[in-house]
Symmetry: D2
Subunit: 467 residues, 4 copies
């Protein structure tokens, strides 16, 4: 507003016009970036400073009807906020996103929130393309967990393939990946991974095809594959599964949980779609974009399919995750995100080298799956299987979150389905216990050094206690 000519003239009664001109030029520099953003609807090359972001967000929020000075609400949902702390932390946004029948629809009462939603989805799509999935066509942020978004996608498929009840699923021992199938009231066919000579776990593609032939494609609602996961499991062979999907005309969902941060996974997806078929890819906003938990990015290669899922979300959604994502993408810009991506890659190497040294000292081995650029495992074969979980809790007490110890002794039953050797993605093998750690986006060298030092101490302590 202060770059407006008429305002400048008014101000000139208080300060000289030549100073105002310089200020107005500076303001125009900022405005230019916002114009570029709205015009191209793509990530800016360089991130914006906090002032520009906050001003933009505040300007948008004033476009919502609850913030009009002449507002007069006589409905049941008027965006009133009674606690000032709440109002401020949402920058006066109150109306959420979407309309009752469609999470991506425009709200007449909330022009600003709608703009926020459309723009953020557009920027996310640009990010996905930049990361390597160049043929991605449409992207929507859902205000729900990745698991729930998978459920919603399954329900969408189910509404079209009413007679299909089975879901072919390459086993991964994370609860929500499995729960999302049960929540949709579908029947999972669990296909264990297979171990190769290097102790890497890979997709049992043959078993997939076998199951399709057993049940018939018409009975199978879809295939669910997973990219990012805990080593020694690696990214599923999504290229092969995509080909099966295409060959048998069975939908294919990819759970790319925290895979958007790595070009390895995104290139797998791009390649798989070219050679076969992928319907939906889901990933979490928190793990890939470093925002608080709460949202999921759904994308695909067919606009209509994605819109169909949007239309399944019953009710308005929170705009909180979308706002977090927008502010983060404006803050980072292309350069900022790519910097994080590159640093993560380096940190993975650094963690690997240091962990290998440590493993050598303790007579253990680091298992890196070539198809897993984020997580790695280290065997704990010299420790008593029954006491190995103690290592995990000792690490946790020392501030190390995220390390995960697999004893291979535990069997887990989820809603009637039993997983032997829970945590290891595979049953009936002579598995050794191990620990997994990950170098995910945002990790620092300090954290790795700190981890290695503490891990070493913990291992020594456990050994000494045992002997």
């Amino acid at each position: 507003m202060m770059s407006d000519e008429s305002i400048k003239e008014l101000c000139s009664k208080l300060v000289p016009i030549n100073y105002l001109n310089i200020s107005a030029d500076a303001k125009k520099q900022r405005d230019k970036k916002i114009k570029e953003l709205l015009e191209k609807r793509k990530l800016l090359q360089k991130g914006l400073d906090e002032n520009s972001i906050e001003m933009f967000i505040r300007e948008i929020s004033l476009m919502d009807s609850n913030n009009y000075t002449n507002k007069c609400g006589v409905g049941e949902r008027e965006g009133r906020i009674v606690c000032d702390l709440v109002r401020r932390r949402h920058f006066n946004f109150a109306h959420g996103i979407g309309r009752s029948g469609d999470i991506s629809e425009i709200q007449p009462k909330a022009t600003g929130s709608s703009l926020l939603n459309q723009l953020t989805n557009a920027l996310c799509l640009d990010l996905i393309k930049m990361m390597g999935v160049r043929s991605a066509e449409k992207c929507i942020i859902f205000p729900m967990a990745t698991g729930m978004t998978l459920t919603l996608a399954l329900l969408t498929l189910k509404s079209k393939r009413f007679d299909a009840n089975l879901v072919l699923w390459s086993r991964i021992d994370q609860k929500s990946c499995f729960k999302c199938i049960l929540t949709a009231n579908l029947v999972p066919i669990i296909i264990d991974t297979i171990k190769n000579d290097n102790d890497e776990l890979h997709t049992n593609v043959e078993e997939f095809e076998k199951q399709i032939e057993i049940f018939g494609a018409g009975q199978i609602l879809c295939i669910i594959s997973t990219t990012s996961c805990f080593a020694p499991r690696g990214c599923d062979d999504i290229e092969a599964l995509s080909k099966l999907s295409k060959k048998y005309d069975i939908p294919h969902l990819v759970n790319n949980a925290y895979g958007l941060q790595s070009t390895y996974f995104t290139h797998q997806i791009e390649q798989a779609q070219r050679e076969g078929n992928i319907d939906f890819v889901v990933q979490s906003t928190d793990k890939n974009l470093l925002v608080p938990v709460g949202g999921c990015i759904l994308f695909g290669f067919n606009q209509e399919l994605i819109n169909d899922v949007a239309k399944m979300y019953a009710g308005r959604g929170s705009s909180s995750s979308t706002l977090d994502v927008l502010m983060t993408l404006l803050h980072l810009g292309r350069d900022g995100y790519m910097k994080l991506v590159h640093e993560r890659k380096e940190m993975f190497q650094y963690l690997k080298e240091n962990l290998e040294k440590l493993a050598y000292q303790h007579d253990e081995k680091v298992i890196v799956n070539k198809r897993n650029p984020i997580s790695m495992a280290m065997t704990l074969k010299s420790f008593n299987k029954n006491k190995v979980t103690m290592i995990g809790s000792m690490l946790f007490t020392r501030g190390i979150s995220g390390a995960r110890v697999v004893s291979t002794l535990e069997n887990k039953t989820i809603d009637g389905y039993t997983f032997n050797q829970w945590g290891s993605h595979i049953s009936n093998e002579n598995n050794v216990p191990y620990i997994t750690v990950a170098a995910s986006i945002g990790i620092t060298k300090n954290e790795i050094d700190d981890f290695i030092e503490k891990f070493d101490k913990v291992l020594l302590k456990v050994k000494n206690n045992e002997s």
Copy 2:
């Protein structure tokens, strides 16, 4: 911390101890309230001031592992936040609520978020009881729209009653109320309301029972009834439906969308549960608690049933709505919420009186349904049905959001189901067009005066244009 004796002694080298003692007493007054809160886990009688709320929230957030000063994350989900604007608006909360298999489970990595979640659910339950549903047993806030929470409840029921596909639904012309059934891939039986002599719309209880007998209770997954709604429709006869639910052993879901703000609706629910059966009651956080859109309160009379729904939510959820609710409930306290409740009741009368005067001047009639204490309708019979929607958009342009014009000319088809005279909750009647307005929680006298004045002008303008 400054009330701690050892700190006080240290401070006494900088300021005299007698002043520090008075300060420490003042601090203890604040701490006492927080202790009471944690001990009783009930609403405080009086709301807290902003300082106390913010300090408490910040103290809790520091209990999460991402905020430990010795944190060292080597996992894939470490609660990192890269954009400072985002971090601040979430008061450093990053981990969301729940664990992959259960939205109400405790997260080891996030003790503070877990405390936030448990405490807020407890306070919400207390609010529900205070509002009149004394037999409520368990309450959980879901980080999803009311519609999606209904879907999740339906999916939960479905997982237990695998052969039942039908949902008996008392027609209400709001899209998400209907969508939630379709999203769960269930088949709705739509039961039109019936009109009485005063043009009020009521539940067709007989038709419900008839349909049960036609299909057989085993085929019917559940009954869905609605309390708060647009006049001239009123609250469903949930007592009668609860009795049917009990008699035929069919689950019963109540959509209490914005009904928690009115003791009329809550007493209906309490009474209905006593006389019959209710399994789940859902209502939105935004409309009842004046927070931004995003959450849903699910409560019931059987702890296990509610927990079952919690266990269906696949993945972690956003803690954003929960945080909003907690801050709001701490801000209001019992007195603050009851004040809002009483003021709303008065404003309903005020709106009614003024609208009746206006209706009289324009030769129209106000229709108030005795079972609807929030919304009222005014006929627009003297206007051309084809042009009546123009009134709505003229009001909207003048800052009046929430008024809703029903022309009775529109038919709407949602996923293959057609609703004649969409908006009027009833078909095949010689309906007149009308407008509905509501006096919901938070409305002010100013807004009503402003609405009446603008509405009058709009009606005159439309009349003059027509003649």
Copy 3:
């Protein structure tokens, strides 16, 4: 910015143009107020909402060079802020106000801060006129205590009247009122107040004239009078002193400490200036405008004189107080401030009535000086003079700040000048001990009720202990 046509067009690719038009209209409503503000440079009739204030402040701050995106500082003072908490709380303002030789000068590096300064001074002048000093000509906010601003004004006078060393001062027992004279290295002539039959203390005008004749006008630098003060002292007879000032051509400073909040005092000032002469009026920003301590408003009836003081401030000043004042005046508007003024007046009556009841019960008397509309005293004659101060500390421990007990036993020496019966503004009288309380701007009915109740208990407790 979002009301800009070109931006609107860009947005229309994301949301429909008709919604954007409504939003743009709403934005224009806000902008209109800001334009009015900059055009008239007077208080707005109605206060602005927080959004408008914050946006305006942020827009202005971006006009300062430290916030330019292309900034490149190679000087010694570049407005860098290293701690983010600090940066945010100052809304990115860093350059302060004024230039080394003049606190009201424009800073080329800080167009926004300069605008802030000029505008706030203009609004303050408007407030002063609105409160009744219609002939006020110029007003400047100084980033210093009232006492220090008095010192600066004295130094300014001294630079013009190099041979005059004496300051005639109507005694008021508040330390900083006296210190300001000594700080300027001047010699005070202390003129005790005189007591009338109602125990009110008034100005000894005769003694003033007598002293002028003794020393000769050329020896006297100025007269300092005080308006607002603790009862039973009242506002000095500034009309009579102004006439002396004019008659003998001696400058006259009025210490209107917290008198801007009361039209009684402002009308005294206006009247006094008409009949005689006033050079400077000082008052604190915190006590009159309800902002944190830190600033002083200096005004007068001759632009040049005020500018002379501005030119005496060596160095740049903090813009913090100015920012507080601006935000407060935008928040209140004319209506908001006048509401506070009227409420205070009512609360004074309420306090008086309740204190009189209490006094009657305890066999004491309330002394109200007709020339003091803010403070009142209550005798404590039935208490032991030696123990009377205990009452003050008991009140303080109970959260009552601001009550002031005068035992009349204390003599105080400040830099060699001894004040007998310190606190009572008068010596050598058979004074009874008393307590003073005030109803100043912002006081609430609750506070008064609370005070009366606690005061009663304290008096009873002291009495019982004594007997």
Copy 4:
């Protein structure tokens, strides 16, 4: 508070005690740092994170009486804040610092503000010692410009040496350094610097002694010397001046404006005090600590002397600068500040090297005074003296603030005193025009690169226009 055992027990009804224990440990880690701070009252080695700082500040502010929940103000100054934006930005601090007669006194109403004040002064003293002035004894932050604080120090001296009116001042062409003498109504004796063979400007110590002998020590109130300044002037020979001060028993004030950031200047001060005498050293908070303009640090080697100045400040002062300084020092810690100090030193070298290259290309010379480690000059001898100021404004328009062009053509008169060749600190010399730039604390490599590039272009443009 959440580390309190009784609270932990209450929480354990909501989340498991083992998780609470880990959280409580993490909280204790934070609390330990605060305890260390209060116990030692010295800079922490490492800076605190934002959470710890904000929690600490909020805890302190709740110690002030205006924030007590049972507060009941019946005085004229109760710390009320009417505008919420203002309240929040001051973290609820309202009472300022000091009491009417002493800026460093404890306020009974404001225990927290008093603690803030004492602690910050203590930390500042520690910083001064860390930077090299090991014998510093006492330090107070004044809520005024450096210039005004110098005035206050001069007034303090004057109150003790009533007959002395002259101030011996080593010329430096910055207005506020000179104004501060006039504001105190004293008479400056201006002693021009002298130029050596390298075009460096140094103190004319002989002239100082000559003037002392001419007027007699009893007539001279004090000597004012300056450390940090614009090249080619260097730090005054404060060791020699200190010796004169001691020899003739004349007080000595050092204007260390932005010299605290450089160990060169602080070592000069330490050395000078050892060999001679310094009474007061003043420096600005903004330039040395990267906070907004507004405060001044006064320190000395004799507690009583510093306290005397504190007692001269009439009235309470703003706590705003003190709060900024505290948050900044907590944020930086020793390591953080020293990092800034070292980086600045490197940047000075970088600027020098790059500027020398540029000077060579343009046939000019860089003048670095060995006694000036912050500022450097570059001659502009090949440009027309009359047009040389254009270079300054062209740079300013391009976002370069802080470069200062001296044409040597300007004479300036301040309150009757004329400075020939204003800006050059010396008269009657055959001076060439030049530009000065500085590498002060917080400068970045980017800024220097940007400056060099733009400066080059500007010089070329001016040359081409001239030819």
